[in-house]
């Protein structure tokens, strides 16, 4: 949604918030709620849990507004903070950043099967007949990287920073995701993928 509250870009917004401007705060919230909500949903099935995390994020942001440093990308800052928050809420006893891959499977949003076992995956795929759910077929990290790149419009460097991996690795993740998708594309109505390579 385009916001015409006199804050055309994120940098102005950010500065206004640091100066205590509540309108700017609301504006920033409305500008990014959607992105944050859908990002959070990748980790938490429960919509209310996502809402709670976003609520905490913005309350903290406002509380600490005076000590905010200039953010190079506000969106990236918000998404990274949300990811950290959700991560912490999932493992309250551990505060350091750990690999998502180590999380118990039950906490992950999508049923991920091993990348290698394509046949099993294809079978599962046929059984569920969920032609619309091809993103759900991807392993979580591939899915996350793919969505960050093509839905949230993040740069590869930002994806790398979010996932705590190297930039080349983030490119590889997206590449792998596209490759995996293409494997399925024979079954998909989604013929467009044929053109991707």
């Amino acid at each position: 949604m385009k916001k015409k509250n006199g804050f055309t870009d994120d940098e102005q917004l950010w500065q206004a918030i640091r100066a205590g401007n509540e309108e700017a705060f609301g504006c920033l919230y409305r500008r990014y709620f959607r992105d944050l909500f859908h990002y959070g949903r990748q980790f938490l099935r429960d919509e209310e849990a996502v809402n709670d995390a976003i609520q905490d994020l913005f309350v903290d942001l406002w509380r600490n507004r005076r000590s905010l440093s200039p953010a190079r990308s506000v969106k990236f800052y918000l998404m990274a903070s949300l990811r950290r928050k959700i991560h912490r809420s999932l493992r309250p006893e551990r505060f350091q950043e750990t690999d998502w891959g180590n999380l118990p499977e039950s906490l992950l949003p999508v049923q991920s099967s091993a990348e290698t076992d394509f046949t099993a995956q294809e079978e599962h795929f046929l059984q569920t007949q969920k032609l619309n759910d091809w993103l759900g077929q991807l392993p979580p990290r591939q899915r996350e990287a793919l969505v960050l790149r093509f839905y949230h419009d993040l740069e590869y460097a930002e994806i790398a920073a979010l996932l705590d991996i190297g930039e080349q690795t983030s490119r590889n993740l997206v590449q792998k995701a596209l490759y995996t998708l293409r494997k399925f594309s024979i079954l998909l109505v989604f013929m467009a993928l044929e053109f991707i390579f």
Binding site: N5, Y29, F37, N51, R63, L135, F150, F190, A192, I196
Partner: protein, 370 residues
């Protein structure tokens, strides 16, 4: 950039292309249309890339609707923030300030003991309200899990929420006014009787009506008292017993008038009364018999007319610059769309935004003049 040599993969990696697919504006639209006109052979790749990006968008957004949550979560955030605006400082302070604070406290304590006593008296609860009654009272208590319906002799009906209680005169309505004391939450449907105004005393808040329906939420330990209006007009003010003239501003004392879909929230600590819109807007046609049903099907309807339709349907005060939006047109069927989302969709389609100020909705945008 040599777009004519782009593969599908190149297109989806291109920020300018993604912007066109996801948030097209005049500039990107013109650019890519003219590109396709010059390079029709690129159409398959462009279509494939578009399908791919829109496919992802659709899947990410398919299982949950962000718009449905946006404003409720924001309201929660605002509540927390407003609460913290009270002087209590949350940030970490240097250690020495603790000693200074302790010293100050000793000084102040002497002064404080008296006012503390007075402050204690200032809180009005269900019990203090009941004590002011000069006649014998009937009490209804809902200790079940379900709302309980209470009928009064004047024909009014009260739906009493679990954990709530009301009291009223045994000879209800024999006086020239009808008075009810509430603790907790209840929905009131008051029978019309212009000669006998109906009063609800709920903590520090007094609600006065002639005949209408509204909800009052006043639990003793809540920080707020809320009155939401469904139909009719309701006047809400702060109880007379509260404070002296210097402590309660005239606005709070004289009260504010509420219309359908508006609510008043009393912050009990500061005795501050705020008028806003209810969280769940209700169509007037659902509650008022002679209100015609509104059609929310719009076809190249000028935006001002759309806003007026929404305003009429929900009894809203929508403020916008009629000239500015005269050239904006809107086409959609919003029949089954939740109220605030209706506004959101209309605003989004004409590149405007809305904000709620007090009980008014203000539309900001630059309009659609060519």
């Amino acid at each position: 950039m040599e777009y004519q040599n782009f593969t599908t993969r190149d297109f989806i990696e291109d920020a300018r292309f993604r912007r066109w697919v996801r948030q097209p504006d005049a500039e990107t639209e013109a650019f890519w249309r003219s590109f396709l006109a010059r390079h029709p052979e690129k159409k398959p790749e462009v279509i494939a890339a578009t399908d791919f990006l829109l496919g992802i968008e659709q899947q990410v957004e398919s299982d949950a609707d962000a718009a449905a949550h946006q404003e409720t979560v924001f309201q929660r955030i605002q509540e927390i923030i407003t609460e913290e605006k009270n002087p209590s400082v949350r940030r970490q302070l240097p250690r020495w300030t603790v000693w200074v604070a302790a010293a100050c406290l000793l000084f102040v304590l002497g002064y404080f003991i008296l006012p503390l006593d007075r402050l204690g008296k200032q809180e009005i609860t269900y019990e203090t309200n009941r004590q002011q009654a000069t006649f014998s009272l009937t009490e209804k208590v809902n200790d079940t899990e379900e709302p309980v319906s209470v009928s009064l002799t004047d024909g009014s009906r009260i739906s009493l929420q679990p954990g709530s209680r009301i009291s009223y005169a045994e000879a209800f309505g024999s006086d020239n006014k009808r008075e009810v004391y509430l603790s907790g939450e209840a929905f009131f449907e008051v029978a019309k009787d212009p000669n006998k105004p109906f009063f609800v005393y709920a903590n520090e808040l007094v609600t006065k009506v002639l005949g209408t329906s509204f909800n009052v939420r006043a639990y003793q330990n809540d920080e707020d008292v809320t009155v939401e209006v469904r139909t009719g007009r309701v006047s809400v003010s702060v109880a007379e017993k509260i404070g002296g003239p210097q402590e309660v501003s005239p606005r709070e004392r004289e009260g504010i008038l509420l219309l359908p879909n508006q609510q008043a929230v009393l912050a009990r600590q500061e005795i501050r009364l705020v008028k806003t819109l209810v969280k769940e807007l209700v169509l007037l046609s659902e509650t008022i018999l002679d209100q015609p049903k509104t059609s929310f099907v719009f076809e190249t309807t000028p935006a001002p007319e759309v806003f007026k339709t929404l305003a009429r349907a929900y009894g809203l005060d929508i403020i916008f610059d009629e000239d500015q939006f005269a050239d904006c047109q809107f086409t959609a069927d919003l029949t089954d769309v939740p109220p605030y989302e209706k506004l959101d969709i209309v605003c989004r389609s004409i590149e405007a935004s809305y904000r709620i100020l007090d009980a008014q909705i203000i539309i900001d945008g630059k309009g659609c003049k060519p």
